[in-house]
């Protein structure tokens, strides 16, 4: 604060020392003339001046006019210097030079004459500003301006739009402009030809215009509008279905992430790990911890917490395996109880050591926001990343199980422990590694979950039952089954939600699974052969 103040004073001093410096260019004198004209003319004349400024081709014209519309263009009484008000709180206003954009520091508001504007001029300005934007050389800027125009085209602008459309090179911009013009025509003039242009548009303003047209007295217009509306509804329905599918896949990928580690420990090793949810929680807390260690760099922290979360959860998992589970081999029900006890301890540990309250994990910039497919459908980026992450993790696990020595050993021990041991495989070592792998994947799930839900001590608990359902539904010991089961359960849940409500949808899914188990007690993809008997 102090330094920036000092700098602005210095700048002010510069201006005072060389007053001619900023105004020495020819262009600036011209600009000075234009602004003086704007300041001194009557409201009736100002319109013409505004147009002159707009067509001057000056880069700064937009800024001047925008400030003028917002009552922020002014003139210093003493020097006649044009300024733009940056902050108008208190007695002294912070201003900058309108021509050079140099910060002039604070100036008493009594020394400033704001150039007055009225509502008629403001309306005019809006159209003129849009035209300036639409003439900008930057295509993105033109597109944004064209989109913003939908539903807010004024009469004067509408007259100029056809020539702008004519001159436009980019197809998407001219399309947006055509639509904006059509909305204007339908709304203000009841143009039937324009109705046809709007059919199939997903813009809400277009729908509002059509709805207005449907109520009009003109029968032909109302019929045309109704027809256009029908086609829009169809398209919207498709988009909504796509959105539901997206949410379903997103929820499903979360389930897959949470369940896939379980599929390894439960499916491959036959060990029920009720503390799996808490391993997920540990992964999420690792992300939080990383962000605490690297403040201001949430993105880097998130990337680093992928290996860190894996390691933390894997080590915790191995510790659980060594201290508890190995003593309970062949007693699945006891393993279930003991690991449940471990989960209680871990939860309470987090509550006591960190906090019983939820922690905030920051979503880095490149993960927030959404990907706009069209005007009715946009996909939130963080969920998109989670879907991608789930698939990558799944593919990685598949590779490990199919292509590596560890995977081979794991499959051998699963199928026949005694035989595998007699072939020289160290079963205990395989157990530890498998459990570490499954737990580590739970940690990865936690890292992903920290981006889409609250990170708190109960995080794991809320996923454990769902994860078991996914594994049981998919068929124990089958990773493909887990993937398919997770994605389909997520989608079914999202499909049911609109008409049943979130809670009832969840209950229905649970009931569906219980009924499904009736038909196929071993899940979608049951194990075959000798392994199934174990």
């Amino acid at each position: 604060m102090g330094i920036s103040r000092l700098l602005s004073h210095l700048l002010l001093a510069c201006c005072v020392l060389w007053p001619g410096h900023a105004l020495s260019q020819v262009e600036d004198t011209e600009a000075q003339q234009l602004l003086t004209a704007l300041a001194d003319s009557s409201f009736a004349e100002k319109k013409a001046v505004v147009n002159r400024i707009a067509s001057s081709g000056d880069d700064r014209a937009r800024y001047w006019l925008e400030s003028f519309g917002a009552n922020k263009l002014g003139r210093l009484e003493a020097s006649g210097q044009f300024i733009i008000v940056l902050s108008n709180r208190g007695r002294n206003w912070t201003v900058e030079d309108a021509l050079t954009r140099e910060n002039l520091g604070e100036i008493s508001r009594r020394d400033i004459d704001t150039i007055r504007v009225n509502n008629a001029l403001r309306n005019e300005l809006e159209g003129i500003l849009s035209v300036i934007d639409l003439k900008s050389p930057d295509e993105d800027q033109r597109l944004t301006a064209a989109r913003a125009l939908k539903g807010s085209v004024s009469g004067t602008l509408a007259e100029r739009l056809p020539e702008l459309i004519e001159a436009e090179e980019s197809a998407s911009v001219s399309e947006a402009l055509t639509e904006a013009l059509a909305i204007y025509k339908v709304e203000e003039q009841g143009d039937i030809a324009a109705v046809a242009t709007l059919s199939g548009s997903l813009n809400s303003e277009a729908r509002a215009a059509l709805q207005q047209a449907m109520r009009s007295d003109d029968v032909a217009l109302a019929a045309a509008a109704a027809k256009a509306m029908d086609s829009i509804e169809q398209k919207l329905k498709l988009n909504r279905a796509a959105e539901t599918l997206y949410f379903g896949l997103s929820l499903g990928s979360v389930l897959v992430l949470a369940a896939i580690g379980l599929a390894i420990t439960f499916g491959v090793m036959g060990v029920i790990n009720m503390a799996h949810g808490e391993l997920i929680m540990l992964g999420a807390y690792t992300t939080w911890g990383m962000q605490q260690l690297l403040p201001g760099q949430p993105g880097l922290a998130l990337l680093l917490s992928i290996p860190a979360g894996f390691l933390v959860a894997a080590l915790a998992g191995i510790a659980i395996e060594r201290s508890v589970i190995q003593h309970l081999k062949g007693r699945p029900l006891e393993t279930l109880l003991a690991t449940f006890g471990v989960s209680l301890i871990l939860q309470q540990l987090v509550r006591t050591v960190i906090s019983p309250l939820n922690r905030t994990v920051i979503t880095p910039d490149w993960m927030s926001g959404s990907l706009m497919i069209n005007e009715a459908l946009s996909l939130t980026l963080n969920r998109l990343y989670v879907i991608g992450f789930a698939l990558v993790v799944f593919a990685g696990l598949m590779l490990i199980m199919r292509k590596t020595r560890l995977g081979l050993d794991v499959r051998a021990v699963t199928q026949n422990r005694a035989m595998a041991r007699s072939m020289g495989i160290k079963a205990t070592k395989v157990d530890i590694l498998t459990f570490g792998l499954g737990s580590g994947v739970a940690g990865l799930a936690g890292v992903a979950l920290s981006q889409i839900t609250n990170v708190g001590p109960n995080l794991g608990q809320s996923y454990i039952i769902d994860s078991f359902m996914v594994v049981v539904f998919g068929g124990v010991g089958n990773l493909w089954g887990t993937l398919l089961a997770g994605l389909s359960l997520g989608t079914i849940n999202q499909l049911l939600e609109p008409w049943a409500g979130a809670v009832l949808a969840k209950i229905l899914v649970l009931v569906l699974i219980i009924l499904f188990i009736q038909k196929r007690p071993r899940g979608l993809f049951p194990q075959k052969g000798r392994a199934a008997e174990g």
Binding site: V324, L333, L337, V342, I465, F468, V503
Partner: protein, 373 residues
């Protein structure tokens, strides 16, 4: 007669003797001792002990299916809560127009939700006999349907455990909904009287405590009767070698279904006795954590003994009362530690520790693996 046989057993006689002696001592200390005496048992303590006895009955029910049938139910809290809700509905109807809103027919929460009529499933709960039948029927029917579906398709072991947990989880979510008509989040509370007796008087509390003790005694004898009958032997056979029992010609799923339903009904009775003593029933009784806690009572006491379940339930809950009183944070550590220690170091529980003399051969602690059998 299968019910009188256990009465001739020494262990049952011993159990009933200790139980009745305890009931009499507590009653005597409560009624006869002056209030300032160190030996006086306050009516708060009486109710607390009554609560423990409810838990003990619930634990006996769980031990019946886990210890003698080999089914680890992680959803017995659901049956307990259903029995409790049936009793709660009766108690709610008994409030009549004494509620906050004074509606003669509708319970307060329904008035609050702007309902204008009693839902159909609340009909009949103003009659005590109907409510008491529902205490048995509601959990019994749920267990019948669920058990029929599960056992018919031979869902056993960990799968069954997980599914029972999902069942109670689903019910918890359902009962949390206001639209269900069971008071939502807050459950049913603010009870006034039971069968005309004011629930707040010491005499009613003592009566409820004694009733619970008697219910526990009856429940114990019923379970013991089942366990020592031929059916009980078949059920133990199902536990140890399900496939082999099936090959011998027994209808395993019918045995499992019968025992499971009886156990669910016992749990329902425990819930029904629990509600008037604690004065509230809400969906938290459905929480998976509660159901799994019950299992640890049984595991601590020693399974397949029945009396072990009673000891475990009382001990753990006493510990819970003490712990949550002095250091609430430590309770979950203690409970979690208990889970681990009992399963790893005390597979036969306290009962095993105390009475494990010579019958090591007969004690089939771990269900033998089918594949190796």
């Amino acid at each position: 007669m299968w019910l009188t046989r256990p009465l001739r057993e020494r262990s049952t006689q011993l159990f009933l003797g200790v139980l009745f002696a305890a009931l009499i001592v507590v009653t005597a200390l409560h009624l006869l001792m002056p209030q300032d005496s160190a030996l006086y048992v306050s009516s708060y303590t009486v109710t607390l002990l009554g609560k423990y006895l409810c838990y003990a009955l619930l634990a006996v029910a769980v031990d019946l299916v886990w210890g003698y049938l080999g089914i680890l139910s992680l959803g017995h809290g659901a049956f307990f809560a259903l029995g409790g809700y049936a009793m709660g509905m009766y108690l709610m109807r008994q409030i009549g127009d004494r509620g906050v809103y004074g509606d003669p027919l509708l319970p307060d929460f329904m008035v609050f939700l702007n309902w204008d009529a009693l839902p159909w499933y609340w009909q009949g709960f103003d009659m005590a006999w109907f409510a008491f039948i529902m205490v048995l029927l509601a959990p019994g029917l749920l267990a019948l349907v669920f058990g029929f579906l599960a056992f018919r398709s031979r869902v056993t072991g960990v799968y069954l455990s997980i599914i029972t947990q999902a069942l109670t989880f689903a019910l918890m979510l359902a009962f949390f909904r206001n639209e269900m008509g069971f008071g939502g989040n807050n459950g049913l509370t603010d009870f006034k009287d039971l069968l005309g007796f004011d629930l707040r008087t010491d005499a009613t509390r003592l009566g409820l405590f004694l009733a619970t003790g008697i219910a526990l005694a009856i429940g114990y004898v019923v379970c013991r009767g089942i366990v020592t009958s031929k059916l009980g032997r078949v059920s133990v056979a199902c536990r140890d070698a399900e496939a082999r029992t099936r090959f011998l010609g027994y209808r395993v799923e019918r045995v499992q279904l019968f025992v499971f339903v009886v156990s669910a009904m016992l749990a329902g009775v425990a819930g029904a006795l629990y509600v008037p003593q604690v004065g509230i029933i809400n969906p938290s009784e459905f929480s998976p954590l509660f159901s799994i806690e019950i299992v640890v009572w049984v595991a601590l006491g020693g399974r397949a003994t029945l009396y072990g379940a009673v000891i475990g339930a009382i001990l753990v809950n006493y510990g819970k009362t003490v712990f949550t009183g002095i250091m609430p944070d430590a309770w979950l550590f203690a409970l979690g530690g208990l889970f681990v220690l009992v399963t790893v170091f005390l597979p036969k529980g306290i009962a095993g520790l105390l009475f494990d003399r010579k019958k090591t051969k007969e004690e089939p602690d771990t269900p033998a693996q089918e594949a190796t059998a």
